[in-house]
């Protein structure tokens, strides 16, 4: 059973507009979440994270929102740029000494 779900396999956005990538999780013990960006044939790179004690974390053009009651988080990218085109993975883990659990990713295409 998938503990981290990214239900949109792909998303297309025009350059300059906002990109919103969504992620749902089922494990109520998860208390830390991360977003990674991945280009083809490369390893994922860390983007932004959020702890369950917060509901928002911002870093430049990237903002992550966490809704614990809905077990939902989202990544907002604004303004979107063509270089943002990549696959974005959501990941979560619980407070125990356990590895991260990743979703299937959402492929973002930013069209110039």
């Amino acid at each position: 059973d998938q503990q981290v779900k990214q239900n949109s396999p792909s998303l297309s956005v025009q350059e300059g507009r906002i990109s919103i990538l969504n992620c749902d999780y089922t494990n109520s013990m998860f208390d830390y979440f991360l977003w990674y960006k991945k280009y083809p044939a490369e390893g994922p790179t860390f983007l932004i994270s959020i702890s369950s004690i917060k509901d928002k974390n911002e870093d430049g053009r990237f903002t992550v929102f966490l809704n614990k009651s809905a077990k939902h988080l989202s990544l907002h990218i604004v303004p979107s740029q063509p270089g943002d085109s990549a696959v974005y993975f959501c990941a979560g883990r619980n407070s125990g000494n356990t590895p991260l659990v990743f979703g299937k990713g959402t492929r973002l295409s930013v069209i110039a």
């Binding site: 998938q2 981290v4 396999p9 830390y32 991360l34 990674y36 044939a41 490369e42 390893g43 994922p44 790179t45 860390f46 994270s49 702890s51 993975f89 990941a91 000494n97 590895p99 991260l100 659990v101 990743f102 979703g103 299937k104 990713g105």
Partner: protein
């Protein structure tokens, strides 16, 4: 910047061959991981290690084995490769702090013919 290295980047081999995928990190991280990823799928954890001489299997059943004799080195071995092993293999490490993040290598794209 992350200092974690994987070799080779690409590998094409025949069925039945034994292969070892190399992963090294220079950050002194105790925790290291191997993930397997296919297009459109999640990263599946196949092995992890929380220190020297400590290895665990991940969620995804795998016919590979790992070893952790040195902190910086975490190689993955397939004794007899099969076409079903064709995938991207990603190595990662982390410091093991409370709100840790994983640093990934560039990956090895394995094709078994």
């Amino acid at each position: 910047e992350a200092d974690i290295y994987q070799t080779p980047r690409y590998l094409v081999i025949g069925t039945g061959k034994k292969i070892t995928l190399e992963c090294s990190q220079t950050m002194g991280h105790d925790k290291m991981y191997w993930y397997q990823q296919d297009p459109g799928m999640e990263l599946h954890l196949i092995h992890y290690s929380y220190g020297v001489n400590s290895t665990e299997k991940g969620d995804l059943s795998s016919e590979s084995t790992v070893s952790r004799i040195r902190t910086e080195h975490f190689p993955l071995t397939l004794e007899s490769a099969r076409p079903s092993h064709t995938s991207q293999y990603l190595c990662a490490s982390s410091a093991g702090t409370v709100n840790e993040k994983l640093f990934f290598g560039s990956g090895t794209q394995l094709s078994v013919l």
